[in-house]
């Protein structure tokens, strides 16, 4: 084995580099005037030799400028794909083997990028510098929003999510201001306490706007407790009440829901409500949320189609680029906003409007009944297990 030194001058790229690598034999001049780009030579000779300890000289940087750009792009892509800051070792480990460089090479590039303001350096973890494409403030913002996608929490609880080492540089004032800004922008909403809550509790916040259904559900539960009813009986009463109120507001709702024939047919209801005999309203419990909400009674944020689209993106952010969403996961994320048949109706409607595509599931027999019930089923009894944006 002898050492080969090749000077490579690329016609396409005006960079000149010196490559010193171990080769059994070879004519150094064969690279010269070969018409090959510096990248080609690096790929065939030098990249393989990275692992063997290639030494490149003649430049303050390890690679020529043209190839630094590609390496930097690679590092940026790795960091873009990561869900938080990464150490140099982690970044190098994520590189494809054939493009992997020594950690000190990667670190020098990272420092250059940080200096140029294109990457961010985070406080060290276990004495190792951390880097990412997003600033600590952006990171904190996304963590808070992510936390508040679930059940509403207090401000203190929300800010706990940004107490890690990565946020050492953010003072308490900055964190508080970040939260207040989110509130100002409308990215967060304050959720008033449920009706009938005794002393004023600490306000809670969530990324969703307060859903009337959450408050109604809580109120119905309380009514059931006060009157000593089962929750089902209280719910049935609420449906009946809602129906009567809606009839007063918009008489056509009755026709849409086809409630009247059912009321007439089911006069022998076993409802436990005091007073007049009430019909069995369980079909209506399923049907009521299916009806088209009128502008006067429903806020924009609770429009089922909007809720679906928003939940899709939350459950799987890659849905925009063609990925699917598991219907069971989607149903679960909308459990409070679109319960039961309301979810099914909204999803089937989205499919008929060609905004969402639902995908058939041909093995329902393999599922447990509880799991099967979580899938979407259409009028023909066909099951669907995934949904994606309708784009052909």
């Amino acid at each position: 084995m002898r050492e080969m030194v090749a000077e490579v001058t690329s016609a396409a790229q005006p960079a000149t580099i010196r490559v010193v690598c171990s080769r059994p034999q070879g004519d150094p001049t064969r690279f010269k005037d070969s018409g090959l780009s510096a990248k080609d030579v690096l790929r065939r000779g030098a990249t393989q030799d990275f692992a063997k300890g290639i030494v490149m000289s003649g430049s303050s940087s390890v690679l020529p400028a043209a190839d630094n750009t590609e390496l930097v792009e690679l590092i940026r892509r790795i960091l873009q794909l990561s869900d938080g800051p990464r150490s140099v070792a982690q970044i190098v480990r994520d590189m494809p083997k054939s493009l992997r460089v020594r950690p000190e090479v990667a670190e020098s590039l990272l420092v250059e990028e940080v200096t140029a303001g294109r990457l961010y350096e985070y406080p060290k973890v276990r004495n190792k510098a951390q880097f990412w494409v997003r600033s600590p403030l952006e990171f904190a913002r996304s963590l808070i929003l992510s936390k508040l996608q679930g059940a509403p929490v207090t401000k203190t609880d929300a800010l706990k999510v940004i107490k890690g080492k990565a946020f050492e540089g953010l003072s308490k004032q900055v964190r508080e201001k970040l939260f207040d800004d989110l509130l100002q922008e409308g990215a967060l909403s304050q959720h008033p306490p449920f009706i009938g809550t005794g002393r004023a509790p600490k306000p809670k916040f969530g990324s969703r706007r307060p859903a009337p259904s959450d408050y109604l559900r809580d109120a119905i539960r309380k009514v059931a407790q006060v009157l000593g009813l089962s929750e089902r009986d209280a719910l049935e009463a609420a449906v009946l009440c809602a129906h009567q109120e809606l009839r007063l507001l918009e008489p056509e709702v009755q026709t849409d829901l086809e409630l009247q024939p059912k009321l007439e047919l089911q006069q022998n209801s076993q409802s436990g409500l005091p007073g007049a005999a009430e019909p069995d309203l369980s079909p209506m419990l399923e049907q009521l949320p299916v009806s088209e909400p009128s502008e006067s009674t429903t806020e924009a944020a609770t429009d089922p189609q909007e809720l679906l689209m928003s939940a899709l993106r939350q459950v799987n952010p890659r849905v925009e680029s063609g990925d699917m969403v598991d219907i069971i996961a989607l149903r679960s994320s909308l459990a409070s906003a679109l319960p039961g048949a309301a979810f099914d109706a909204a999803l089937l409607k989205a499919a008929s409007l060609r905004t969402l595509a639902v995908h058939r599931y041909d093995r329902p027999g393999l599922l447990q009944p509880a799991e099967r019930d979580q899938l979407l089923q259409d009028e023909q009894g066909q099951f669907y297990n995934t949904v994606s944006l309708w784009r052909n």
Partner: protein, 661 residues
């Protein structure tokens, strides 16, 4: 919109073949398989696949794409479209630098032999000839030219090279080996490939088929290390192939029917093994474009069973779904099919391109949630038959017809080289049918010692099944390891060794024979599988794979794997029933001396086909009456011509019956 009735033209339409039949694209390489392609359907997903190939070519790293879709949504059709796009240049006999190499792997295999299956299918695709040199040849020549600094047109360079410098093949490929860390053995075989020498042996080596010592000597390579797991060897070959492809020609690997890998619907281990193999290939080089097509019903299992890094390698570039067709695309597809079929000759004046259908028909077929292309074509086919007033064919059992067709095909394609792979992949399916309450484990020891272990309910029986390798050297090593472990530490009550009946163990393989005798002395059961059983198992494997992938449908209805399993249980083809019985029979039965004589007789006749009975009896050391009696018991294997000097002959040649028994 045309509402012209088709009723007056039904007689004419009868003379036109139904343009909507035969909608399933089974083989992406089938010429004319996508003649009626409508480019607008799934265009976005197709563009994503092309972008993934471009990304891999541009050196930005390997790209993985998952394509999800319900049965019949056009996954295989999309692969066929991509195949056409990426390999059309192969029709031109001129040698050109390949922009990429393309292979499609249908995963009708099992996880324990996945890498071997992928290796075989990839090599088959790379060696296909569609007019000019194969992809493999183009690739190797292009890399050689690259290393020779050959400027100009590759065809001219190659012409000059072949005429003047064929001796430089080895040095150039050696340099390739050194620079790209490719195995020297692989390079040695490539030398023969580009020189077009020993083509059969080269093909067998590349596919991973067993080679005789003479064939290995021809190629000038050593046999593979029998101690190394064959899956590792296959995975290493694939990594070498990726490095051979280099950065300028990415390897495009399309995996179809990923769900067919699953032994049972809840088998997530197979998906994990698939993810691991992809990850291994992903790490080998950065020039890989992986496109994995799977049913949307598998989506949840894939997301749940694969750790994030593995999932990222499979779907890092994109995850796409094949959406149902809306009215517009459905009309486009129907119109295109009608046009290709020549409906213009029948269409009345004033009718539009959909005739004899109306837009109302299309809307009814599409329904509120859209429709998959296959279901649309099936419905259209039925409707078209109604328009043409075609008599409905007498009801037959479509599964029985399909089974017969596949069995016949499997028997025709039968090769003993494929038998180990078929046995490994289909024995678990066989137990699903014959012993549904038994538990099946694949490669439980993870060291190639056993292929399948089946356990009866409550542990009443535990049977280890080893598929004997076709390679004599590897088989000897496998049996030696089994001798060391069975019965003491193997934790099975019965050990069954399976081998294709057409590949008898040679008498000259002394070590193998010795280990086999030792194992049989320990009550291991050596079972020679008849070609009929191998063919039935292969048909079973393919039928189930298609059913699992939603690619099996009759008269507009998708046939599920459960239906196929139930049907097979009800009819239970005799070769399968017999094999299952032999596998589960109590362990006390010894290998009969008849078996031994038959095997030796078979081995002897493999060399000369016909022989005097007296001569062969002397050779085998048994009496003439016994030999004739034993042979008479197997009319499917031997024939005897009686007379003053009776002769015995083999009735089979490479699995084909020469004479019906």
């Amino acid at each position: 919109m045309s509402e012209v009735s088709a009723g007056h033209f039904s007689g004419d339409l009868q003379s036109l073949g139904n343009p909507f039949r035969g909608s399933i694209v089974g083989d992406p390489w089938k010429p004319g398989g996508i003649d009626s392609d409508v480019a607008r359907i799934h265009k976005r997903v197709f563009d994503t696949c092309c972008a993934a190939v471009d990304a891999a070519r541009s050196g930005r790293g390997s790209a993985g794409v998952i394509i999800n879709g319900e049965p019949g949504s056009g996954k295989t059709h999309l692969i066929a479209r991509l195949r056409k796009q990426l390999t059309e240049h192969l029709l031109i006999p001129n040698l050109e630098v390949p922009r990429q190499v393309f292979a499609c792997v249908r995963l009708d295999s099992c996880a324990s032999s996945l890498a071997r299956h992928v290796r075989r299918r990839v090599v088959d695709d790379l060696l296909r000839r569609s007019g000019g040199p194969s992809q493999f040849e183009r690739l190797v020549v292009a890399r050689m030219m690259e290393f020779d600094n050959g400027a100009g047109h590759i065809a001219l360079w190659w012409e000059h090279f072949r005429e003047e410098r064929t001796d430089d093949c080895l040095p150039l490929l050696t340099e390739l080996c050194l620079q790209d860390s490719i195995s020297p053995t692989f390079v040695q075989v490539l030398v023969h490939l580009v020189r077009q020498q020993h083509r059969l042996e080269v093909m067998a080596w590349l596919r991973g088929d067993p080679l005789t010592p003479a064939a290995l000597e021809k190629l000038g390579v050593a046999s593979e290390d029998p101690e190394e797991h064959p899956e590792q060897l296959a995975a290493r070959f694939l990594s070498d192939l990726l490095r051979l492809a280099g950065g300028n020609s990415p390897l495009v690997l399309c995996f179809d029917q990923v769900e067919a890998l699953q032994q049972t619907p809840d088998d997530v281990q197979s998906l994990f093994t698939f993810g691991q193999l992809i990850s291994q290939l992903h790490d080998a080089d950065n020039n890989l474009a992986i496109i994995s097509c799977m049913q949307s019903s598998l989506y949840r299992d894939v997301v749940r069973s694969l750790p994030a890094p593995l999932l990222d390698r499979i779907s890092g570039f994109a995850t796409e779904s094949l959406n149902p067709l809306d009215e517009e695309l459905a009309a486009l597809l129907l119109g295109h099919r009608l046009q290709v079929a020549g409906i213009d000759r029948f269409r009345p004046a004033g009718a539009d391109s959909l005739w004899p259908f109306t837009h109302r028909d299309v809307a009814a077929m599409v329904g509120s949630t859209g429709i998959s292309p296959r279901r649309l074509l099936e419905q259209a086919a039925r409707r078209f038959d109604q328009f043409a007033e075609r008599p409905v064919a007498a009801a037959r059992d479509p599964l029985a017809d399909e089974w017969e067709k596949r069995l016949e095909q499997a028997y025709r394609d039968s090769s003993e080289q494929e038998t180990p792979q078929i046995l490994r992949a289909s024995i678990p399916h066989l137990f699903t049918i014959t012993h549904p309450d038994w538990k099946v484990q694949l490669d439980p020891t993870q060291d190639d010692l056993l292929d399948v272990v089946v356990t009866a309910p409550q542990g009443a029986a535990r049977i280890g099944i080893k598929v004997c390798d076709s390679s004599p050297i590897r088989l000897s090593a496998q049996l030696r390891k089994l001798c060391q472990r069975f019965p003491q530490t193997l934790n099975v009550g019965k050990l069954v060794l399976l081998r294709d009946e057409r590949s008898p163990i040679s008498r000259t393989a002394a070590a193998t024979q010795k280990y086999l005798q030792q194992l049989e002395a320990s009550e291991a059961h050596y079972l020679r599988v008849a070609p009929e059983a191998v063919a039935a198992l292969n048909a079973l494997r393919e039928l189930l794979a298609d059913a699992r992938s939603g690619d099996l449908s009759f008269a507009g209805g998708h046939v599920s794997a459960d239906t196929v399993i139930e049907w097979l249980r009800s009819v239970m083809p005799p070769p399968l029933a017999e094999l299952a019985e032999q596998l589960t029979a109590p362990a006390t039965e010894d290998r009969s001396t008849e078996d031994s004589v038959i095997e030796r007789l078979q081995e002897s006749l493999a060399r000369r086909r016909v022989c005097a009975v007296a001569e062969i009896a002397a050779e085998l050391g048994c009496s003439i009456p016994k030999l004739m009696a034993d042979a008479a018991e197997r009319p499917d294997m031997f024939g005897v011509l009686e007379g003053a000097q009776p002769v015995i002959f083999s009735v089979r040649q490479r699995g084909t019956m020469l004479i019906e028994p």
